[in-house]
Each structure stands twice: as C-alpha cells, then as structure tokens.
C-alpha cells in the first residue's frame, strides 16, 4: 500500500470512528442536559430585549421559541407531568416576538387551559394570551372563538364565553356559527349539547390534523359521558322495577329498555360493573372521558389521535 493510500484509509477510518463517537456523545449530552436547555433560554425572558437582540430577525426567533414551547409541552404531556412552569413564559416570548403568530395563540390556549396532566391548568394565562392575540389581531375570529372556548370549558363562565363569541361574530368574515354559539350560550350554558356544538365547530373550522384529532377525541368522550349517564339512569330504573341490579346489559334488552346492546364510539359494548355502574371496556382507547372508568383509573400517556370522527 502506498503512503498516500495508507493515509487516506487511516483518515477515512478515523473519520468514521470519530463521527460514530461524536453521535454517541451527543446522545449522552442530551440525557445529561435534559430540561436544562429551556431553563437556560429563559434566562432572558423579556420579549422586548430578545426582539432587540434578534437584529430584526424576530420572526425566525419567534418560530424557534414556538417550536421550543411545542416540544416542552409534548415532552411534559408524554410523562403526564404535574406542572408546566416554563410553558407560559415560552408562549409569552413567542407571541411577544411575533404578535401575529396565530397558531401560538390557538394551540397555546389549548396547552395552557386544561388541568394537568392534559395541560398547564392555568386558564387565566390562556385568557391573557388570547386577549393579547386579539389586541394584535382584532380581525381574526378564531381568537374570539378560542377565548369563548376557554371561558366555557375551563372556567364555566358562560356570560364571558357568550360575550367572547358575540365579539367574534362581529368581526368581518367571522364564521356564522359564532352568532349561534353566542345565542345558544345564553340559553343552554352547561349542557353537554353545548360542549358538543363547540367541539363540532372546532372540527369543522380547521384543516389542522392535530386540532381535528383533538376535537374528535373530545366528541367521543362527550358521547361516552352522555351514554354512561343515560345507561346508569336506566340501570337505576331497572332496579326500581325489579328490586335487584341487572346482572348484564342484556337484562336491559330483555326488559325492553334497550333495543340492542349499547356500544361505545370504538364499537365495544358497554360493561355493567358492580352496583349499577356502567363502564367502557377499554378506557385507555377513549381519552378525556370523565365517566365510565373503573374506580381509581389512571389514564395512560397520550397517544396519536385519529382525525376522523
């Protein structure tokens, strides 16, 4: 082997080995520094200062911070974290850098408002975020819709929810459903039908797969909650009439109270548990349900949601 060829082979081998080694070290570094990075980036928490430091490239910086917020939320959600302390500051920086980044308000409000482990459990921060969005994007009806949504679902403040929908309905090119929502809110606030109407509107007014999947999951959960309520009422009625609990759902069919065995949105039949409780067969497959789960049930980490109802 000539000298030059020997050098080439040695350098090539060393290059490959060093590359493999550097990748392995980066992976170890990521483990050592998990979580530290975001705390470090928040040492500068003033959007105004960051805007000046970005030398005019605040749009790009806002995109980076938005991605950091999404990653932070996703990572915390997977481990079903009990707090999301860095989420609000990250969103504040993102929207401070680019006040017209609408996705940050739409998704951000949905990240901040729900109680842990599904969200940060800070609806007041979600409202603050969306109000800031409205202030900077007064002609976007989606933001009023998000605001009404948070007031309705998380704070149960129906008057403010109706007001938000009403404000949104007056925006040029607003979705016509906002007017209906504002009116319906005054009459049927707190009804399961109202919640269903909201999630249906969410599904119909977006093309985003993840928002749609989230809406579908909530619609399914609402269906289960409603089914379980009705079925448990029937079971109670059966007991009143016969003096004992039904042994299975089939007893309700035999008694003529049901036409067929009831099934949940996944197609599985509802199960009758002790003392007239109705449960779904696989609660892990139906996220966000509040009824129909076994006592002490702990939901699993979220998985990929289907985007079809």
């Amino acid at each position: 082997m000539s000298g030059s060829r020997r050098v080439t082979v040695t350098a090539g081998l060393l290059l490959l080995l060093s590359m493999a080694g550097s990748i392995a070290v980066v992976r170890r570094l990521d483990q050592v520094r998990s979580g530290a990075t975001l705390e470090e980036v928040l040492y500068i928490s003033s959007p105004k200062l960051l805007k000046r430091m970005s030398l005019g490239y605040e749009g790009l910086l806002a995109d980076i911070y938005w991605t950091r917020a999404v990653q932070y939320f996703g990572n915390r959600l997977i481990v079903r974290a009990s707090h999301y302390n860095l989420l609000a500051p990250l969103l504040e920086i993102t929207t401070g850098l680019d006040p017209h980044l609408l996705v940050a308000y739409q998704f951000g409000a949905n990240f901040l408002a729900p109680s842990p482990p599904n969200g940060a459990g800070v609806p007041d921060k979600a409202i603050q975020l969306v109000e800031f969005g409205i202030q900077n994007n007064p002609d976007d009806w989606h933001l009023y819709y998000e605001l009404g949504f948070v007031y309705y679902l998380e704070l149960k403040d129906y008057a403010k929810a109706a007001d938000a929908f009403d404000r949104g309905s007056k925006v040029p090119h607003a979705h016509p459903f906002l007017k209906i929502l504002a009116a319906e809110m005054a009459q049927h606030a707190g009804d399961i039908q109202m919640a269903r109407a909201l999630w249906t509107t969410t599904y119909q007014t977006t093309q985003d797969k993840q928002i749609r999947a989230n809406a579908v999951a909530h619609l399914r959960a609402l269906q289960v909650d409603q089914d379980v309520t009705i079925l448990e009422q029937m079971v109670g009625l059966y007991r009143e009439q016969t003096g004992h609990w039904p042994s299975a759902m089939a007893d309700l069919v035999t008694a003529g109270m049901l036409r067929a065995l009831p099934r949940d949105p996944t197609g599985r039949p509802y199960r009758l548990a002790v003392e007239g409780r109705v449960e779904v067969e696989a609660p892990d497959d139906i996220p966000f349900i509040e009824k129909g789960t076994p006592p002490g049930y702990q939901p699993p980490p979220p998985k990929h949601l289907e985007s079809q109802p």
Partner: protein, 258 residues
Amino acid sequence: MSARIVAIAANTFREAVRDRVLYNLIAFALLLSGAAILVGQISIDIERLVVVNLGLTTVSLFGVVIAIFIGIGLVSKEIEKRTLYTVLSRPVRRWEFIVGKFFGLAGTLVVNAFFMAIGVLAALLYVAHAYHKPDGWILVAVYFIILQFLIICSLTLLFSCFSSPLLSAVFAFSLFVIGSFGDDLRGFAAMAHGLTGLLATAAAYLVPNLSPLNVISSVAHEQPVASQLIVYNTAYALLYAGVALCGAVLIFERRNLK
C-alpha cells in the same frame, strides 16, 4: 507529535502574531473595562452579571471570528503565495501540514483566550472587589469556549482545503450559527417523521453541536456546571474536531496541487 507538525504549528502561530491578531486584546480590554465602569454607574446589582456575560461572550465571538478569518486562509493563502510547494518539497507529508496548521491556529486561539480570560477575571475583581466560589465556573466556561474554538478551527481548515476563502468564511460562520441552535435542530428532527425525519436527524448530528459548550448564561447566574458535562463536552469537541480534521486530510491528500 512529529517535529515537523510542531514546526508547522509554531510557524502558523508566529504568522498569526505577526498578522497582529493579538491586537484584538486591546479592543477587548477597552470594551470590558468601559462596560465595567459604565454599568456600575447606571445600573443596580447586575455589574457581575454584565461583566461575566459580556466578557465571556466577547471571548467567544472574538475567538470565532479570528478562527474563521485566519483558518480560511491557512491552505489557500499558502497555495496562492506558492509557499506550500516549498513546504511540501521538503520531507513533510500533506497530513502533517494540515495537522500542524490546526495546532498552530488552535494554539493562537488558546493564548488569545487565556489573556482575555485574565481580562474578564480582572474586570470581575474590579466590580465585585473579591472573588467568590461560584466564580470558579467562569474558568469552566472559558474551557468550553476553547473547545468550541477547536471545532471551529477544524471546520475552517476543512473548508479551506477545497473552497475559496470567502466561501469558506460563509460556510464556517453558517455552521457556527446553526451549531449554536444544535439542541433546537435535534428537537425539530425528533418531531419530523419518515424520510424527512431521517434526513433531519442526519443533518442534526452532522452539524456541530455547540449548544452544550455555551454555559455563559448559567455561569453568569452562578450555576454550577455538571462534571459529566465537562467530560462529555471534552470528548465531543475532540471527536468532532477529529472528524473535520480527518475530512480535511482526506480532501487535501487527494487534491491536485499542480
């Protein structure tokens, strides 16, 4: 280390000093002493923070700029002036020339960083009147900055082997900027799926990961640096510089110099 490599490294260092590279130390001293006096007068209780942040950031940026602007000409200038032929006509192998140039440039930057670190510590003593235990982490931050220089040196040398000085500078500076967002880049790659995810992951590992080497903010906030981080950062910088250096040797070895 071969005597030939040492000779080339020493010559590179001497040349950089002759090019008045170390004059940047004067600018650095003026900037730091000015900032230390000014901030002490116009602000409350952030003197230490500003001196450490400004000082270490300047050490890093000055070093990177020097690394890029000297590194890009290391090979091309020698070809242009035809001095390379004189060197290679002697019993010096091409890879020894590249490795020697790398050590020469790295040595220049280490000396530069050493003097600047003394400047930072002096400014810190001026504003804080005494050193405290957490100030020791500043030395770790300086060490990480030197590791960063090794990576940038090796990359500029790599580009210098096949590209024009201007393009080499653009490539090296772009990689420095991209590498500073290394964590985010790997985060984006983790979120992508399929072929895009695969390509993004490959790109994320290929570009230098400079984020862990930047502990300036945490050191300024008197946060300790994990010993594991020191070990892994050292290993990473040496391995990555090795990758770029091997790449430079491979290219230079096969380059037609006629």
